[in-house]
Subunit: 198 residues, 2 copies
């Protein structure tokens, strides 16, 4: 299933504000129409931009959708660096309110169906959303190792990204309810901190 | 999403051998045809039974599929009781070989699509496959508590079923590869045993 990484697009033409506006519009349309019915034409119309601009910036619909979802995630790597692992994790937990989390879960649940049918969407989500998220969690852990908070050879280390991402997915998948802050906080205190020994 | 538990069917008419044969045929057909194209007619033809018998035993296609999947899981609760938690978990890990696990993952991946479209399949899998699996894991943990191996009030306890089920799902979902025995063994030693303190 591995594919060659695609060349990155240049993003010199849009201001960050305009980019955020476009991503918001994409997510709104995704909620309204679903992935299959979402077209670059509809995005161009809603955002009053040309399709040429959209394709120049994002190459394809799967890439645009994956970048919009990634942009929607509320924590930027710089905000995450509080000087302690517990502090960093607390920022992660506080970064989203329950209403937002429920909205996001509904969006991802809607997409799950499309992911099974669109290999290119699957690849874009992996490369542009999941892998950067894993890299961020690993960077957070590396800072804790560098500060001496956790041992570099702790066997649990390599499993933390999967445990954190899995906590999000599992409640929906196993218990049929979206994850919320209370649930994730209990998980972090019962599993993540003990397994890291912090 | 919770629904009333449906009345259990009586199963006095089939021998365990015949029941196993029927379940195997259902899984074979599921692999060949997919869930949507699988019909009670096709199952009746393949297994040389009458549709009336199938409906009397299983009520519906979702129930038959869920029970077939559950039957396919190789560990019975009695086998699991070895007298120690580490022993029980080892039995779980040894219960399936990698080829079987890959086959099962492919089967479940194929079903994921159908689950999103069929609420009754979703309910049947939850009631007849996931909930009994969680109950079995909890019974295994309760035995360990009763033997004094782990504390009854350990906060991680309630998360173990989700962690074990999640380990299976996550490798496929996040890393695009089916779980195998080496992977699950590493997970259990790096996460499950440390978080339980055994």
């Amino acid at each position: 299933m591995q594919t060659e990484p695609r060349p990155r697009t240049r993003r010199t033409r849009l201001t960050p504000e305009r980019e955020a506006e476009l991503y918001d519009a994409v997510l709104d349309l995704l909620r309204e129409l679903g992935y299959d019915a979402l077209t670059m034409d509809a995005i161009a119309a809603r955002t009053r931009s040309s399709k040429a601009t959209l394709y120049r910036q994002w190459n394809s619909k799967p890439e645009l959708v994956a970048r919009a979802l990634r942009h929607n995630q509320p924590v930027s790597p710089a905000d995450l660096d509080t000087g302690s692992l517990r502090g960093d994790v607390q920022i992660l937990l506080n970064s989203s309110d329950d209403a937002q989390m429920e909205k996001d879960t509904a969006l991802l649940r809607g997409l799950a169906h499309a992911v099974y049918q669109n290999e290119d969407l699957h690849t874009a989500l992996r490369e542009l959303m999941i892998e950067p998220e894993i890299a961020e969690i690993n960077a957070m852990l590396q800072r804790a190792v560098d500060r001496g908070e956790i041992a570099a050879d702790l066997p649990a280390l390599e499993w933390i990204p999967q445990l954190l991402i899995g906590a999000f997915i599992s409640r929906e998948l196993i218990w049929d309810r979206p994850a919320d802050k209370e649930y994730l906080t209990r998980f972090v205190h019962a599993v993540i901190f003990p397994v890291l020994g912090v």
